[in-house]
Symmetry: C2
Subunit: 400 residues, 2 copies
């Protein structure tokens, strides 16, 4: 098999840990696989360099930041390659440029445009282990760029896609994706296999194992993604396309997102275009509106409710007040979003009603509901959200 392995900052945080990573890579190679490794900077390194930059400027040039920050991954990749050579393997470290990762020129948040995998492919054909500095690429003008948060994951997925790798393993300090947050529900179980779309719901709903960008890219490039821990030998969670999943569970897991705030507008004039004008204004200001509910009133006005991330509430408030959008505005920070996620919902009815019944049994009021083919999300009182998660986890028998 051709396997791409990505090791994050904590996995390469010390020289000893880099040595452990080398052993893990060596094991994979000895098993007869071709291996491309993508590494992050040693944990703490990127923050140190950022602190240095901010010593000089509150708003350092993004181009210069990229030159600065990209150095951390180069260090790790050179060190890991040296460690592998010492163990007798033929290995070579590549910068983002040498790995052929071309990006647009949005410094510090660049997007990968394309990958020229010829160099990596040739080196693989020579039997080498390739160690790529993650998080970085090169623009058309030959400038160093970085990919922003989760950038090394993106590097790994993009390379796996370009090489048509059999597997892309993302190593972190977590075993994989769980049916729900194990800190809330001890009975949470690790999920063996999950579809891209379910994982996207998990990721965007606050499960921090993988960033949505990486999962989206994996879906687009049809890359089999595995998330697992570099600190043990447990099997991780495979994220793949729905067709590859033989037994589709009705519900895969329960996600909780506490970073929610609700805005309610009462007495909005009930004329065409009013809601559109509100939401287009918010979009203009880069505020992510998530769930929306609208009730027609009896007096020619309408009531509108929606949620935004908590840290954007203040700005959203200001905008609403300036617009005089409604007679009455209400804000609530103490809400959370609980979601039931499962690709099996598509073909089964009764999943949603079980969620509502469960909430009713627990005496939890649902403020907003939103559903898609593979999830049911409910806005509820934040103080009851963990109780809700546990009840749903049990109702869908995820602990079994």
């Amino acid at each position: 098999m051709l396997i791409v392995q990505k090791y994050g900052g904590t996995s390469v945080g010390t020289l000893e840990r880099i040595e452990n990573v080398a052993k893990r890579v060596a094991k994979t190679k000895r098993e007869g696989h071709q291996v491309v490794v993508v590494v992050s900077a040693m944990s703490g390194e990127t923050n140190k360099l950022l602190k240095y930059a901010h010593h000089f400027s509150k708003t350092p040039s993004k181009r210069e930041l990229d030159m600065l920050l990209s150095s951390g991954e180069r260090v790790t990749s050179a060190l890991l390659s040296i460690a592998l050579s010492e163990m007798g393997f033929d290995s070579i470290a590549l910068t983002g440029r040498q790995a052929g990762i071309y990006t647009d020129d949005s410094h510090t948040t660049a997007r990968i445009d394309n990958i020229n995998s010829k160099c990596i492919q040739n080196l693989l054909d020579e039997g080498k282990i390739i160690v790529v500095a993650g998080f970085q690429g090169i623009t058309k003008n030959g400038e160093v760029s970085t990919l922003g948060r989760g950038g090394s994951d993106l590097s790994a997925v993009a390379i796996a896609g370009a090489l048509k790798a059999d597997l892309c393993e993302i190593y972190t300090d977590v075993d994989g994706v769980y049916t729900t947050d194990p800190r809330i529900e001890k009975k949470a179980k690790k999920i063996d296999v999950i579809s891209y779309d379910e994982m996207l719901e998990f990721a965007s709903l606050g499960a921090k194992v993988l960033q949505s960008r990486s999962v989206e890219l994996a879906k687009k490039l049809d890359v089999n993604l595995v998330t697992r821990s570099s600190f043990n030998n447990n099997e991780g969670t495979l994220i793949t396309k729905e067709e590859n999943i033989m037994e589709k569970p009705l519900v895969s897991g329960i996600a909780l997102d506490k970073n929610q705030a609700r805005i309610s507008l009462r007495g909005v004039k009930d004329k065409p275009g009013i809601a559109a004008s509100i939401f287009s204004k918010l979009a203009e200001e880069n505020i992510n509106v998530d769930m929306i509910i609208q009730n027609v009133g009896h007096d020619g006005t309408t009531n509108l409710g929606f949620t935004v991330p908590q840290n954007e509430l203040e700005r959203a408030k200001e905008i609403m007040e300036k617009m005089h959008a409604a007679d009455h505005l209400e804000y609530d920070k103490n809400v959370a979003k609980v979601s039931v996620i499962g690709v099996g919902m598509k073909s089964h009815s009764g999943v949603a009603s079980k969620a509502f019944e469960t909430m009713a049994k627990e005496n939890i009021n649902i403020e907003i509901i939103s559903t898609s083919e593979i999830k049911i999300s409910m806005i509820i009182d934040e103080s009851l959200s963990e109780q809700a998660v546990k009840a749903l986890h049990s109702a869908y028998e995820l602990d079994k």
Copy 2:
């Protein structure tokens, strides 16, 4: 003027010092000059990375080492550029690659093949301050290379040459070149101007301000070199071609090299080619033979004396013993080389005899003598070497 300034590791050793460097660069720019800055890694950084590499291997791959070590200069150049931007200057950081520094592929000790200065020139024409990561270049195959010890000086001189800069200032923690080591002779004076050839004698004879490689390159490229301190505003020492020096002093300074060992061979067969075979064998083994003396004996044999660096004495001994080159071998580690250097010697007689007279007056025995157009070197007892330096410094009135 177009000025290239190079700041070494101690000059950029902390964030505060980088700030000071930024102020110095800013001052030069405000005076109306075009400025290209070349920086080293923050002091200690390169050694830290080397230590990391040696944690994994005693003989790390040189290619990987270059990828590792070149990151230090990138960090400094990005930070300095950020600092300059914050002060309101239009500045840009360039890697060795972006600066167009092409080298051969001798990783860790690469030689500069040529410089494509088009990019720097264009950026200068736009009024920018250019901050180049020193010590590094790129091979024809697109691999990162580093230039070895004193590499950032070389980067600066090569860039100054390619741009036909008016001045190349090398900033260190020393004020410039002195008539002799001020730790030995307190009356030593800073030299205002000195020729490349004299400086080469100083450098190769143990004055540690500049490495010979940089001076040689400056001579070849006709670059006016200034060595000065980044910690004060004293004028430094200008190193330039002889024609530019109006008043040529008879003697510029006295150099002392204690890293010398003498080997004496007695009873070497006096037949053609015997000396040649000895020295070609030593050259083959990469031992730098410096001064040589040969006396014809009375019995058909000859006596041969020569010096090698102290740390190469052991190997030289072994080779001599294996060769059975002579009836009798003697070794002496307790010797030093004292040299009188001055471009004015070329056209004046009596300089050498004054040196010998001075040694005689001090009762110091001269073991080997070697002279060139611009220097007289003498091998003497190491314990008397500082006394000799002081006596010569005074005899040539260098303290006046």
